[in-house]
């Protein structure tokens, strides 16, 4: 122990390792969610964009209604509706360039569709004829992800890989308020910040994780406040204000594209329907709460803004609705056709090449199917 001898060297100083690394202040979200529609900021909003958002949000609402109807007809195994959350879904899709990637959760078929995916393909998982019903590379939409928050590290890895390759690609990953409690959320945000990966995390805080309200999920001032703990900016936005969500996401995407690293965006919204068609929301919330959100409907906010500024009239509204109806009719018709199934697909794509074991099992099923067919023939 040489401590006594060292005593003279002692100066009362802070620990050597300590330098405050970043100023936390700019990382913290504003106290109020950012809004555009119905505020002074709306005047600066691009009219074309507002109209596009409007058309897509109306289509999105119709899509949700149609998909829910399809569950009742037994055409979908299950549907987690994003009714009420269309502003987030649509803005997330529109804010990205073609070359960017979208990482949706299981609730975000609408975002995938708004990005250009064929709605029938987007619904394959929920119809049940296969899992991911599309080639993710085609529209750069990762598989709809059911294990909560597990898609977030995928987005980080992909964005990081693209950056290493020198490609100008941003990944936008979507997750619910409940999903923020998972360890994967934490690990993904931390990796993203350490690697300065070009990722935008969009949390749709719709008030519930199935039956569990936000207050049982977190005690944080806001979910956006989690950002500072990773050293990235946190942003709070009115999730039913499509223009606001678009602006905040666009800003975050730009920031990521310019090498500024990831951003965490919390969009405050509300799930107007039950968790899925199989859920009974009356068990955990009262109608009055749902009703309070009807005044703050994403379509309403846009329609009001556009009509007040003379950018939309009854005819324009009708045109948008007609377009949505056409999409719905087409979806309904195509979903009413039975998918073509081949049981032998079970053994496809488990591995690049079938193992001996799988070849044996495939032969067994083949024989069973042949025997069945023979039986049916007789």
């Amino acid at each position: 122990m040489t401590v006594m001898e060292q005593r003279d060297a002692y100066r009362p100083t802070p620990p050597p390792a300590w330098q405050p690394r970043t100023d936390p202040a700019p990382l913290l979200p504003d106290a109020e969610p950012f809004r555009v529609l119905g505020t002074d900021a709306a005047a600066k909003a691009d009219a074309r964009l507002l109209h596009q958002l409007y058309a897509e949000v109306v289509r999105g609402r119709r899509y949700n209604a149609q998909a829910t109807a399809l569950t009742k007809q037994g055409r979908l195994a299950v549907y987690p509706s994003s009714t009420g959350q269309e502003a987030c879904e649509v803005a997330a899709a529109l804010v990205l360039e073609e070359r960017d990637w979208l990482f949706p959760s299981y609730r975000d078929t609408l975002a995938a569709v708004a990005r250009g995916l064929d709605p029938v393909q987007a619904l394959t998982l929920l119809r049940g004829d296969w899992h991911t019903g599309y080639d993710p590379r085609e529209h750069r939409v990762a598989p709809l992800c059911t294990p909560l928050a597990t898609q977030l590290p995928h987005a980080v890895g992909l964005a990081h890989a693209a950056r290493l390759k020198g490609d100008d690609v941003v990944a936008l990953a979507m997750v619910g308020d409940g999903g923020t409690s998972e360890g994967d959320f934490h690990e993904a945000l931390n990796f993203a910040a350490v690697w300065q990966a070009p990722v935008v995390f969009l949390v749709q805080n719709n008030g519930f994780a199935i039956s569990v309200p936000l207050a049982k999920q977190t005690a944080a001032p806001s979910l956006a406040h989690k950002a500072v703990g990773y050293g990235m900016p946190g942003r709070l936005v009115d999730g039913n204000d499509a223009a606001a969500v678009h602006e905040v996401l666009a800003e975050a995407v730009r920031h990521a594209r310019e090498g500024g690293g990831p951003t965490l965006v919390e969009a405050i919204t509300y799930r107007m329907e039950a968790h899925t068609n199989a859920d009974d929301a009356t068990r955990y919330r009262v109608d009055a709460e749902v009703d309070a959100w009807r005044d703050h409907d994403p379509i309403l906010l846009l329609e009001r803004e556009l009509t007040e500024r003379g950018l939309l009239d009854e005819e324009g509204i009708r045109a948008v609705r007609d377009d949505a109806e056409k999409m719905a009719a087409d979806l309904r018709e195509r979903m009413n056709q039975d998918p073509v199934l081949d049981p032998m697909d079970l053994f496809r794509d488990v591995y690049a090449e079938q193992t001996t074991q799988l070849r044996e099992q495939a032969a067994q099923l083949r024989a069973e199917l042949d025997a069945e067919a023979d039986g049916a023939d007789r």
């Binding site: 994967d184 039956s211 955990y284 488990v350």
Partner: protein
């Protein structure tokens, strides 16, 4: 178990009743998990518990499975008996580190000072038209983890009895709840529930002499059906319901196979590396000279669980079981 006052109840109700009775009997029993409180669980197994016992006894947790298991470990350290729900089989995976490295090992690591009287409820298996990640048969993972007990009921009465036994056990018990039997009904008297048997005994569900079907959980009713159908082919099949995968009832199983001389293990979990390998191997070790044919296995294929519209091709059905029975090297006939 039919008694005079017996009324039909579903397996889900029997599980729920067992939780209720255990909570009423012992204030240290706490239920926690995602949506177990206000909603009563997505399968309604915990329905009414929060109302009867309050939020503190039946708690909606934040959405994090490692957190649920990890905090339950801490609660058990303090003397509580937590019963945690993993909402679906595949959503138990985030908690595997806590399960393998702590839940299963804590008693051993501490030379018995810190037992883990913890029950992990895992709704498992397919056949319910669930989309991906909702139909996994994950029993192989649990079986390969020393320190855990692993049980799975096939009847309404067993659902009650096993859940009570699991909660009463001073060791961690994984209760695999066969999702597709949740709504199966049986005459069963919740006012006079069956006695709680200790964990670890298999049962002969149907005596027979030609061959033994060794099975458990969701495959038990399928095997019973197969045994019925087999009569037409001249086979009198015995059906053994294992009930407990860990510990394993070698005695009952071996006795049956020694009697019949032939056996097929049936489960919907994937075949390769699945429970059937262990079962076939240990039966063969013990009954080799009584066997007329190798112990065969009928299992799910070695593939990710298929989408709803194709699952019937994956799940072992009556025909596939009878095909296997036919391959048991019958000298005379069939």
């Amino acid at each position: 178990m039919t008694t005079v006052a017996a009324k039909p109840a579903t397996m889900a109700q029997a599980f729920g009743r067992a939780l209720r009775d255990a909570m009423a009997a012992d204030p240290s029993v706490h239920v926690l998990g995602e949506d177990v409180g206000t909603l009563g669980g997505v399968f309604r197994v915990t329905d009414g518990l929060a109302k009867e016992f309050g939020d503190a006894r039946c708690t909606d947790t934040p959405l994090a499975e490692a957190g649920i298991l990890g905090t339950a470990v801490g609660m058990a350290m303090y003397g509580l008996r937590p019963v945690v729900e993993m909402q679906f089989d595949a959503f138990a995976y985030p908690g595997f580190e806590q399960l393998i490295s702590h839940v299963a090992k804590m008693r051993n690591r501490t030379r018995g000072a810190m037992p883990m009287p913890l029950t992990v409820r895992v709704p498992y298996g397919g056949g319910i038209g669930g989309v991906e990640h909702h139909s996994d048969s994950s029993e192989a993972y649990y079986m390969a983890t020393p320190g855990l007990h692993v049980v799975t009921p096939a009847t309404v009465a067993d659902a009650y009895g096993m859940m009570r036994a699991a909660i009463a056990s001073d060791d961690p018990v994984v209760v695999l709840e066969p999702k597709r039997l949740y709504w199966s009904k049986d005459s069963w008297n919740p006012e006079h529930p069956t006695d709680v048997e200790p964990i670890g005994r298999a049962v002969v569900r149907r005596p027979g002499s030609s061959a033994t079907l060794i099975t458990y959980g969701p495959s038990v009713p399928v095997c019973m059906e197969a045994a019925e159908a087999a009569r037409a082919e001249g086979w009198d099949l015995e059906v053994v319901d294992l009930r407990s995968l860990v510990p394993f009832d070698d005695e009952t199983v071996s006795a049956s196979v020694r009697r019949t001389g032939r056996a097929v293990v049936v489960h919907e979990s994937g075949g390769f590396g699945g429970p059937g390998g262990e079962i076939a191997a240990r039966v063969t070790e013990r009954c080799f000279h009584h066997l007329e044919a190798p112990v065969l296995r009928v299992a799910g294929f070695d593939i990710p669980y298929p989408p709803p519209m194709l699952e019937r091709h994956h799940l072992p059905g009556v025909d596939r079981i009878l095909d296997a029975v036919a391959r048991l090297q019958w000298e005379a006939g069939s």
